[in-house]
Amino acid sequence: MTLDKKDREILEILQDNSRLKPEQIAVMLGLEIREIEKRIKALEEDKIIVKYHTLINWENAGEEVVSALIEVKVAPQRGAGFDKVAERIYRFPEVKSVYLMSGRYDLSVLIEGKTMKEVALFVSTKLATIEDVHSTATHFVLKKYKQEGIILEDGEKDRRLVISP
């Protein structure tokens, strides 16, 4: 699928706020509601829109979440390269993201758990034991400042006067 300008605009709008209704987007872009619905459906079917999710700051809800970034060095396999190992890793629900990296290590794996122990245990028993995984280095996240383009701390508030000329 090749995107046109309107598709791109729809994506930008939804990326910022996926809760806007097709009616609203239709007005904003000067298109028919049907047209917007059709385009969104096509974008979903082509897996350009992958999922509508919500960015939640669990810490503000008083929930304990531990995340760790694991640097993984692996031996690529003939024919499959890194994909097979990556798949073995990303199947685990504890694994939130997996990226193939250039540089000192190969895979960057983000893991979330309830406690440090849980995460450490996962790494040592599940991740490090995978055949072709040479080594792992675990870095625990101490504080999240910004996630997915959103500043989590002290979201910039409206500092304008309520009325001005």
């Binding site: 007005v27 009325i163 001005s164 000329p165």
Partner: protein, 400 residues
């Protein structure tokens, strides 16, 4: 005890406070208000601009600049105006960096007004034009632009008000508070009148980048108009830089020189930190600005549709970030409407009469607000309108 009232300048005493103050006092005591009353972007200045300013401070840019402003910035402005409108200004003596368009307007009026000179002010318009004219010793002559013409002033309306004392005409498109833009053809007609009567034009084009349909015409780019136009512009709106206080004035060296004379004694120069930031804005700010403009345009359409659905009659604003709907069918004055809407529905708007007597019967709604806030405000206004237009209809039915 000293009696200040006796001591104060009678000229300043005569100038009324801006009508906006009253609502400001009222609003600031209330909670849960959704405001469509704000005349500035809801974006914060793009980070690269703020960062450039911080860097300039680290490097020690903390001194006065030339009275005219940093030459590099003036050159950048001249280049920008040439690239955008093909008007040529010599950065050395035809561009002056000012503390916002606000100062530019004051300087322009003071530089050209002799006591008793008349300045034509098409209304509704930004609140400072008439008071600044009076304080410069001039006489503001209001030209009520008609609602039927979407509040665009016509050449004929201008010509009607010209007297032997008429010195200057103020133009301001895209317009605050109406969001009206004006076409090149209409401006050409105005230019003819300007030429015929040998007038000066002070053109406040601060919203020029916020033009959503058609292309903005810079008044100075019209044939023979460059030499008699004082072009005022600034960074407040397009780059979301209101608090930085930076603008510029361009025009014939004689008048810009005269304005610089006033500026050197009253302001010395515009703040260097803001000038450094403005340089970054012009050099690297186009992309972020375009994003903001696209966002305003989407909200504009949303608001227009929303107003239409709740029965608020509104012509299509094609510039700035304001809509100026009519509230005449409620039978209330603009001030009554704005006050009731604030107290009962907790939505802040600005009554139209604040911007000129012919703004009566309208309210200014700024859509420099989040989609969530706009949607909430429109919903509240809908319920409010149902109550009052309902009553109005009942009354009409009873008397009819």
């Amino acid at each position: 005890m000293i009696n200040w009232h006796e001591k104060l300048s009678p000229m300043v005493k005569k100038v009324p406070w801006s009508g906006i103050r009253k609502y400001f006092d009222l609003v600031s005591e209330m909670k849960g208000v959704v405001s469509l009353g704000v005349g500035e972007p809801d974006f914060v200045t793009p980070w690269h601009i703020r960062e450039a300013c911080i860097y300039s401070l680290e490097k020690g840019y903390t001194m006065y600049t030339s009275n005219w402003g940093l030459l590099e910035l003036r050159e950048e402005i001249a280049r920008y105006l040439y690239n955008t409108y093909k008007v040529i200004y010599e950065p050395r003596n035809e561009v002056l960096i000012t503390v916002g368009v606000s100062e530019g307007m004051d300087l322009a009026l003071r530089a050209v007004t002799a006591p008793g000179d008349e300045v034509l002010v098409p209304e509704p318009c930004y609140v400072s034009y008439a008071p600044c004219t009076s304080m410069a010793g001039g006489v503001p002559v209001s030209i009520p632009a008609s609602a039927e013409n979407d509040f665009r002033v016509t050449a004929a309306q201008i010509e009607e008000k010209i007297t032997p004392r008429t010195k200057a005409l103020i133009l301001s498109y895209p317009n605050n508070p109406t969001g009206a833009v004006i076409s090149r053809e209409e401006l050409m007609e105005i230019a003819k009148v300007v030429k015929k009567h040998d007038l000066i034009v002070i053109s406040d084009e601060i919203y020029h980048n916020l033009t959503y349909e058609g292309k903005h015409t810079c008044f100075a780019s019209l044939p023979a108009m460059r030499s008699r136009t004082i072009l005022l512009n600034g960074f407040s709106k397009a780059y979301a830089m209101t608090g930085w206080r930076l603008g510029y004035a361009c025009g014939h060296p004689d008048v810009i020189g005269h304005m610089t004379k006033i500026h050197q004694y009253t302001m010395l120069c515009a703040p260097v930190t803001a000038q450094m930031a403005a340089l970054e804005a012009l050099q690297n700010g186009t992309e972020e600005m375009a994003k903001m403009v696209a966002e305003y345009d989407r909200r504009r359409k949303l608001v227009l549709k929303g107003f239409c659905e709740i029965g608020l009659e509104c012509f299509e604003p094609k510039g700035a970030f304001y809509a100026f709907p009519s509230i005449k069918n409620t039978g209330m004055t603009s001030e009554e409407f704005a006050e009731k809407l604030l107290l009962e529905a907790k939505v802040a708007v600005v009554p139209g009469n604040v911007f000129g007597a012919n703004g009566e019967g309208h309210i200014r709604c700024s859509y420099a607000a989040s989609v969530a806030d706009l949607t909430e405000a429109i919903e509240r206004m809908g319920i409010f309108l149902q109550k009052y237009t309902g009553e109005q209809n009942k009354a009409a039915a009873a008397s009819g």
